[in-house]
């Protein structure tokens, strides 16, 4: 399967087709067998009502056939339902895996415009909503049509006039269906789903921002977004419900057993008194006639669920269809670790370019410091190296190979990074550090932790390296950043990308980053967003980035001497930094 092409639903479901077929066949056999006991009652009535002596043997045969039918029905429907649900579980797992795989390949930029709550809803709730499609619909829908069809054919052979009369409630109910599917209703359904999504994301926000909610809590105004989302949702929901509840209730009454029986009895009485219908022939209509409403009831009953499932499938498809970062068909292996940016341009949206033509070479074994005012594009620049984004123009080359030609394994084996936005996983300290090296030697993990100045702190944790972060313990910002540094050190990749702002969390982190830089310099290709003047001074090359372009570059001493933009920048930042020194 090509990584960039989204797998179609049919292809995903194809392996499960035999199971679906089994579900349907078993269900139909079971449902049709379920008619046997009803027919047994009919036959019993015919025998008992027929004039002349009773045929005892015939009566008991009828009873036995009826009982056998019940048994067959039990066996087959249970088997069908069991298989259906097991397939359902497998299909759901498959969908979730596919979604996770897809989300693991889309460009990182795609996430910043989406709520993780909404995406989690697709993977969780939306996949669950497919349940009726898989487990119930095929079998139930087919039997909801096959059984009435069989009954209908039988009833026609008994008396066609009464059959038509029996169909009156069905026709009445069907006449109401179009009213429930007007464009306005469908619009309301869409609005309903959108409003539900907003509730979910406002809850995620509400919970994550709870500290702010509390600090500004007052009379609950800070959670007004949630309340607004709720009120809006309830509004839409009640419009939807009130819109259909009258029609729905009317339909329910038309299909209800008492009403159907009334219609059958009125018609039957008329035909018996005037049309020469044999009284015994009324029985099948009383027993099977109710079953004729099944298809409509199935439609009405499962309709909401089906529609919800349909919409959920739509959202799943949308996510599966997001184009992923392209993986090369024939990955090329890089030669060496020279990094080169050639006329790189990039913008998060079309009308605003963040990088406007960057040419930069990182020689192996050198430290390149990027400096410049905030908003100048430093973070974006360094994020191109681990390929969080692809440049919109130009190329990033590693060992002479465009990153787009590189297999992702090769890329991540070569480039590691420590960024400001640290996300630790709810997993053990060891797992967090060994993220990039899953089967790392525990000694190596400890060594990396030592180098990152976090080892002692880890030993103080309740279960040491097995402590589950976020569950057993909450780490401070600085500690989290040192874990992330240890992660990068363990990965031991030849190219290291580092945001030094990371180190400003606390003195220990600062020391750790400083030591790591000192230790690795000369061996690694390092690109650092520098904040300390010392780092800048020690760098082989300094690049001053302003407004998406490199305005000056060169050895730091040289640049200072030149007295240009960098020198001015250096001077202006000595002062805020000044009394820190």
């Amino acid at each position: 399967m090509n990584a960039t092409e989204s797998p179609s639903m049919t292809r995903l479901l194809r392996p499960h087709v035999p199971s679906f077929a089994a579900v349907v066949v078993l269900q139909v056999i079971g449902a049709v067998a379920g008619l046997a006991p009803l027919l047994a009652v009919v036959e019993l009535g015919r025998t008992l009502l027929s004039p002349g002596p009773l045929d005892h043997g015939h009566v008991w045969t009828v009873v036995i056939v009826g009982a056998a039918g019940l048994f067959v029905r039990l066996l087959f429907t249970a088997a069908s339902s069991g298989i259906g649900h097991l397939v359902d579980g497998r299909v759901q797992l498959m969908f979730r895996r596919q979604l996770a795989a897809r989300l693991g390949r889309v460009p990182i930029g795609w996430f910043s415009r989406r709520h993780s709550g909404e995406l989690a809803k697709v993977v969780g709730d939306d996949v669950s909503a497919v349940h009726p499609f898989i487990a119930h619909t095929p079998g139930e829908l087919v039997s909801a049509f096959v059984v009435p069809l069989v009954s209908l054919v039988y009833l026609f052979t008994v008396d066609w006039r009464l059959t038509l009369i029996t169909l009156v409630p069905v026709v009445l109910a069907l006449a109401l269906v179009p009213l429930m599917m007007t464009p306005a209703r469908l619009r309301e359904q869409k609005a309903f789903d959108a409003a539900m999504g907003r509730i979910t994301s406002s809850v995620v926000e509400f919970v994550q921002g709870i500290a702010v909610v509390k600090a500004f809590g007052g009379s609950g105004r800070a959670h007004r977004r949630f309340v607004t989302a709720v009120d809006e949702f309830v509004g839409i929901f009640s419009r939807l419900v009130y819109g259909i509840s009258g029609i729905g209730a009317g339909m329910q009454v038309a299909l209800s057993p008492p009403f159907v029986l009334l219609v059958v009895l009125v018609g039957g009485t008329f035909l018996i008194t005037s049309g020469g219908l044999a009284p015994a022939d009324l029985l099948p209509f009383l027993l099977l006639g109710l079953g004729l409403t099944a298809p409509v009831a199935a439609l009405g009953h499962g309709f909401d669920e089906m529609q919800a499932a349909g919409r959920a499938v739509g959202r799943i498809k949308d996510v599966l269809a997001v184009p992923s970062l392209r993986e090369p068909a024939h990955p090329v292996t890089p030669r060496g670790h020279r990094v080169e940016l050639r006329d790189v341009r990039f913008g998060y949206d079309d009308d605003h370019e963040v990088l406007r033509g960057i040419d930069l070479v990182l020689e192996p074994g050198t430290v390149t410091a990027v400096v410049g005012p905030s908003g100048g594009g430093k973070s974006t620049l360094v994020q191109l190296l681990p390929r969080f984004f692809d440049p919109s123009h130009g190329s990033v080359l590693l060992g002479g190979v465009d990153l787009r030609e590189l297999g992702s394994r090769d890329l991540y084996r070569t480039v590691s990074f420590v960024f400001q936005d640290v996300r630790l996983l709810r997993a053990s300290v060891t797992d967090n550090i060994a993220l990039a090296v899953p089967h790392a030697d525990p000694d190596d993990v400890v060594r990396a932790a030592r180098m990152a100045n976090i080892h002692e702190r880890v030993l103080e944790l309740p279960r040491g390296y097995d402590t589950v972060i976020g569950e057993d313990v909450k780490l401070s910002g600085g500690e989290a950043q040192r874990i992330s540094l240890a992660r990068a050190l363990l990965a031991d990749a030849p190219v290291l990308v580092l945001d030094e702002a990371t180190s400003f969390a606390d003195p220990h982190t600062e020391q750790a980053v400083r030591q790591a830089l000192a230790r690795l310099a000369g061996e690694r290709t390092i690109l650092v967003i520098a904040h300390r003047l010392e780092t800048v001074a020690d760098a082989d090359t300094v690049v001053l980035l302003e407004d998406g372009v490199i305005v000056e570059r060169g050895a730091p001493a040289e640049l200072l001497e030149r007295g240009g933009r960098f020198a001015a920048f250096w001077q202006s930042h000595r002062s805020p930094q000044g009394d820190e020194l």
Partner: protein, 568 residues
Amino acid sequence: MIRMLLRVLGDEYARPLRRTVALMTATAVAEGLSYALLVPVLRALFGSTPGEAVPWLVAFGVAVALYAALRYFSDLSGFRVGISLLRGMYHRLGGHLARLPIGWYDARRVGQVSVLAGEGVLQAMSVIAHLLSPFIAAGVTPLTIVAVMLAFNWQMGLAALVAVPVVAAIQVWSGRSVAAADARTAERGHEATGRVIEYLQAQPVLRAGGRTHERFRLLDDSLRELQRAARRTVLSALSGAVAMTLTVQAVFTALLVLGAYLALGGGIGVAEVLAVLVLAARSADPLLSLSDIGGKVRGARAELARLDAVLRTEPLPEPREPALPGSHDLEFESVTFRHGERTVLDEVSLSVPQGQRLAVVGPSGAGKSTLLQLLARFYDVDAGAVRLGGVDVRAMSSEALMERISFVFQDVYLFDGTIEENVRLGRPDADDADVRAAATAARLDEVIERLPGGWATNVGEGGALLSGGERQRVSIARALLKDAPIVLLDEVTSALDPVNEAAVHQGIEHLMAGRTVVMVAHRMRTVRRADRIVFLDDGGIVEEGGHDELLRRDGRYAAFWNVSLNSS
């Protein structure tokens, strides 16, 4: 179930809900009773004078009309009550979540609560609108029919009656076993949701680590666990359904046999036997749907139980007669605070006179942030007292307390909205001039100038579309606008680059001027300017005094100071 619903919602919903249940029960009884009229109708039709059926038929028609009217009104009433319960539940949950102590919120709760407050509430409430009526009908109508059977033929009625306790027992038994499996499934579902959110938010790291989906074991494990739990639920639900079907069918078969026997013996009229069998067929269908509906009701009940558990988590108690502080002195008196097993603060005492600045320094994990959080009453202390102007913070209303405090965090969380909305959170009724002034003082104005959308720029979920420094400036502007007399700063300038730091410092200076300040910091410049410094380690105050005094003492603080000197 209803009882739990009422407890969760409060008494004001008791009346409409009881009325709805009564209406639904009446509808189900009416349906069952109307069938009683089938017997005379059939007796006439199967007899020699079918014309006699007409008056009975008219009576049946009236009964059906009555049933239809009842049904229509009970459906509508169900919808109406369902919606009002839905709104009530959402509001209660929202209000409650805001009042729960911050300590309650850990990483896994984000996924849990988001599912619960979204679909969970809807599912729990849909019981009333969609499930309650069929559930009541499936139980009550067959019971009524059995009563009708008893009235017409005691033998067959008795045979049907035997089924009642068996059906009830199966319903209860399978209910219990499925509920247990359901609870596990739901737990796994929450777990998986938490993992998905984590997986999404950690994408940059995961990719850099080469951990695409196939190798991200944590997520895949939780997805597989979810499937396994769901399978167990299915199997236990299925066994309940099979037992139910078996019972109902056995009784139907018994009635068939008994009917045939009685009719052959001539002890009963043929019309009666046939009518009773028609009735039996009528009650079999709803009973068979009982396990299906029961499953859905249980799902809703499990959701309801989870809501109940959240709503029953005690928020911090509010005082009956809130006191108001006279000044803004701050005081900790022998404060002990535990988080789980760990003692975070151990008998800490300190005080900050109004208008002074206290700096708290110390290694990570020493309890510095906790100190601030106790002042803002994110938690309550386990022993001792935290006082504001001589008044225990527990004796103040949380609104009065929050009005007096501006809290600036290290990790700024912005709400998904415009910059202006986020700043205005500080004081929603502020006029534009005040908002602009706060922005200028926080040096947010220069950020806004640079952004394409200006004040109306959307900051994204959590403020993701702004840089750390920009977010911090928003939060300082917010605090400036709030203009509270007490300012709590939690490592505000850490993780900022020098340019942002300089800007943020200016903002902070504006914010601190003339206010009582407690700050957790390590950027030594701010610390040095504090009136007093406490060095916190392992939950206790190790050293305390002015900057110069502490340096002279050459203890922990001095050592810390030197590390930070060396690293710059």
